[in-house]
Symmetry: C2
Subunit: 565 residues, 2 copies
């Protein structure tokens, strides 16, 4: 962080790590949005065997929902009808693609007008083709210009600010020492900027444009915003250091605002995106007939609560960022730099995604009132008796939060794994059997009982491995036990063509080459008696119970509130 000293000149005032220490094995990295998109496109292609393609240049015209059949979940009921307009080649090619991006940085900025209706109208005049789609479910975007939100009549709450910021992706030529560090610079009177290093010597600069103000209508004069005016603003902020560039990769500008939608779903049939990870697996399981349609209402409950928390934070943070630093303790209008630092650290925590703690619902078996812990929607289980997990059996593995990661060893080959790597995002729930110390005959018997019930459960057995995966982590010495001799078959199933499964049973033991052997204490599980944890397909912890016959009854009850059959 760089703030003005007493002489008004910026100096490095503080340093904090980008990622809170000890939070995750992953560090922060800035990836170009195009790379993320490419990754998704490649995987859609691969996993659909090239049958699914993303269409572009297609705009929606009308949405009709058959209210009478919304509750009918039979496979051939498609209550949603959307009319699509395929844009002509000319309309589908934005002006930005015709020239250099450097010349049209404000394309699709929130400083520009919404051009959806205009595009549809023009395209219709030019006889672009139309298409009618009938669907069970529909997912729209949640941006300020969302057409789907407009059709549903949902509102955005919140207001834009007067702050306008420019963005430059450039290879900087500068003597500013922290140009390869993510950092914030508050100048005494010329505004603030943020430095975000990227790949190939590129740096993304967020630059406050103090000289650009919205007019009475709330709109800024876009003609004044160019890469030249933005870099000039940056040069004033970062003085006495020099800053220029020869190569600009991209630029834009936008008006800061924090708005959140009042609703994210319409009767569990039409959804506004925002957390694809949360919505995707739920829709998938319902469409496949694996899960009850009622789990869909947890999307809005879980999504909106987090969105509101984030917006509240960003509201405060953007004002701390764009405000003038306090000259001294008497300067009450200025921003307190210690407060800014604390917000910066909290922002890092938010960005990591690991602070999310979902409220109780049919998917998260924890105590309390579902409406209070979410966005007000009732997402409690339809089961007559509320199922509640035994949090104390895995004290550091919190119901409603991500299943934490520790290093474990594969029992069959002693290879170390980050345990989380075994929880693939493949749409499956997971029963994670903390088998405890199975060298102890009594514990071994408890495990056998749990497994016997699991293998013969008429509710769960038909779903095993296909919709519900099983992972085992025991705490005996690896060399004291054998996979085939000491673990029931359901934990490492046999296949007539490929033999036993060697990738499902793990041990919390010391590796030859890496630190490990602390997983049980990390998860907060008793090494002797273990427990059973159920994770949702998005790796959030849904249920915890004992690794025995009674515990199995609890696991079954949890799934009864979720599975369709």
């Amino acid at each position: 962080m760089w703030n003005p000293g007493e002489d008004g000149i910026i100096r490095r005032s503080d340093r904090v790590p980008d990622v809170p220490v000890g939070l995750s094995r992953f560090q922060q990295i800035v990836l170009h949005q195009g790379r993320i998109e490419r990754f998704f496109l490649d995987h859609i292609r691969k996993h659909s065997k090239d049958t699914l393609r993303v269409e572009r240049g297609v705009l929606p015209e009308s949405l009709h929902i058959d209210e009478d059949t919304l509750e009918d979940h039979s496979p051939d009921n498609y209550p949603i009808t959307v009319q699509l307009q395929h844009l002509t080649e000319e309309e589908a090619t934005p002006a930005q693609s015709n020239g250099s991006t450097v010349n049209d940085g404000l394309f699709r900025s929130n400083l520009a007008e919404d051009d959806t209706d205009d595009l549809i109208a023009k395209s219709r005049d030019k006889a672009g083709s139309t298409e009618t789609v009938r669907a069970k479910y529909m997912v729209g975007c949640d941006g300020a210009h969302s057409w789907t939100r407009r059709q549903l009549g949902f509102q955005l709450e919140g207001e834009p600010t007067d702050f306008i910021w420019g963005v430059l992706d450039v290879i900087p030529i500068t003597d500013f020492p922290d140009i390869r560090m993510r950092c914030a610079v508050h100048s005494s009177g010329n505004g603030s900027l943020m430095v975000i290093p990227r790949e190939n010597k590129l740096v993304r600069l967020y630059i406050q444009l103090k000289e650009i103000k919205p007019d009475a209508s709330g709109r800024a004069d876009r003609s004044k915003i160019t890469p030249d005016t933005i870099i000039t603003a940056a040069q004033k902020i970062i003085a006495p250091y020099n800053l220029s560039y020869e190569y600009c990769d991209w630029w834009t500008a936008y008006q800061i605002g924090q708005r959140v939608g009042t609703n994210f779903d319409y009767k569990n049939r039409v959804f506004l995106a925002g957390d694809a990870f949360n919505l995707g697996w739920k829709l998938g399981l319902v469409v496949k007939g694996v899960a009850q349609p009622s789990i869909l209402k947890t999307y809005q409950a879980e999504r909106r609560r987090i969105a509101q928390d984030l917006i509240d934070f960003d509201h405060k943070f953007s004002r701390l960022f764009s405000g003038r630093p306090a000259k001294d303790v008497m300067d009450e209008e200025g921003v307190n730099m210690e407060e800014f630092k604390q917000a910066f650290i909290k922002g890092n925590m938010f960005a990591s995604g690991l602070s999310v703690d979902y409220g109780t619902s049919m998917l998260v078996a924890k105590p309390g009132n579902a409406a209070d812990q979410g966005d007000g929607t009732d997402v409690s289980s339809s089961q007559p008796n509320k199922v509640i997990g035994q949090q104390e059996l895995a004290s550091n593995t919190k119901l409603g939060m991500r299943f934490p990661n520790y290093k474990v060893l594969n029992q069959a080959d002693a290879r170390p794994w980050e345990f989380q790597q075994r929880l693939r995002s493949d749409g499956r729930f997971r029963i994670i059997v903390f088998a405890g110390n199975i060298v102890n005959a009594q514990q071994s018997a408890r495990l056998q009982n749990f497994c016997r019930r699991l293998a013969s459960s008429s509710l769960l057995a038909p779903h095993l491995y296909k919709d519900i995966d099983i992972l085992t982590l025991h705490s005996s010495k690896r060399t004291d036990v054998e996979l085939l001799r000491d673990f029931p078959d359901v934990l490492h199933p046999f296949d007539a063509k490929t033999g036993w499964d060697y990738n499902s049973v793990y041990v919390d033991d010391v590796a030859y080459h890496e630190e490990s052997g602390e997983a049980y204490s990390g998860y907060g599980v008793n090494r002797e008696t273990g427990c059973v944890v159920v994770t949702r397909p998005d790796q959030y912890v849904g249920y915890i119970d004992a690794c025995d016959e009674e515990g199995f009854a609890g696991v079954e009850a949890y799934f009864k509130g979720i599975l369709a059959s």
Copy 2:
């Protein structure tokens, strides 16, 4: 390791890690040969911009070397002429590709005859086309059937053994507990086998075929070797455990032998491969005119010494592996299992490649006699005074061995790096400046002097960054120094379009999220005064001297014995 107990039944007798503990951050992995080849082909394509292609179905017919011009290294002298025969489509398609590989596992096994001459003759009859290639240098293969070796009249020393082993790549169906561990099984009377786990549940099994013996001519009856006879042999060895398979990916069989060539180069113009890593960069630098042609003679000196060591080890190891285990201490004909275990551990060390220690030469400035430390070739420097590095300045960074790896931080962005990742295999020498504690004014002055001489050296300056890269590692606190203020420009060069280089200066300091800060003690370098290490393009340590004006004179003398101009 599995050996017979007193009752003659195999039991797990011992366990050792695959890779010696603490040796490297990399662990062992088995990669399919086709994947390695694909990797090379992709990179040849990429880095040659698709101008270089590997041709197949081309065989050499004749080799002519113009002895009179071998010493003439002018750019237009091509003393080697090779006549090539392009095989017809039919000849170029081995019988193996026509059917299943499972039906022809002995294709190109050393149990099969050399078919080179036969292929050439048949192809000529069928009017395949010929081609004449004139070359400066030529690289042939070093296998038992090497055509190039035959033309040069070099010999293979050593003899085949009577041991014949089969190989099966299968998905095993078995109750043998260690099927996912690399392990060795010695049965009491049915021979030995080795288990090497692969990807996708595949396991490679090496299986001793005790019932197949070479006849008087030294040849085995190949018709008796099939996947069935091999798995039957395995079943006898591994009893009382069961072993079968449904899926076989590939199989072969071969006769064990250890043979090493008498020569690996002919007058520094024709080379026999075997260590492409060692030969490639030397040839590249000579062809580009960067290095003196005399460095080429270090290839045979370095290669043959290592090959002989490895063959000597394998000679002993294969006999320990194929021999019958001793029944008791009185059983002198049997193999001592403790001796086998020690050889197994030594084999793991060999396989890692990190035990290589090259002798003194113009490329490795260490004391002693070049002929004694290599294969007898005189590879000492042509310099009037022998250059010898100051080993004591980097006591754990051995002249002649690979530059070790420790974790360091980038000075500009605090990102941790495995330092070895900065020593890319791009054909460049590297001057690694251990700058020491540059907060100390005296040490800073020593660094300035070294850098001033380096930047103005008429020998080295023209090669900087293009043929000789520079990396810096200092030991001050990262936050006490600034890249631009405290380090001479030559250590982080400026480019008018892309600004300063931020990827050349590192620090041995503590990272936020990872263990680090032990590099200087790891390399054995004094934290106050530092030193300078020169690495060859293959990351072997060539020279060590002080980080001052006098040390620079040594660095210059070392390069004088290598660089062409």
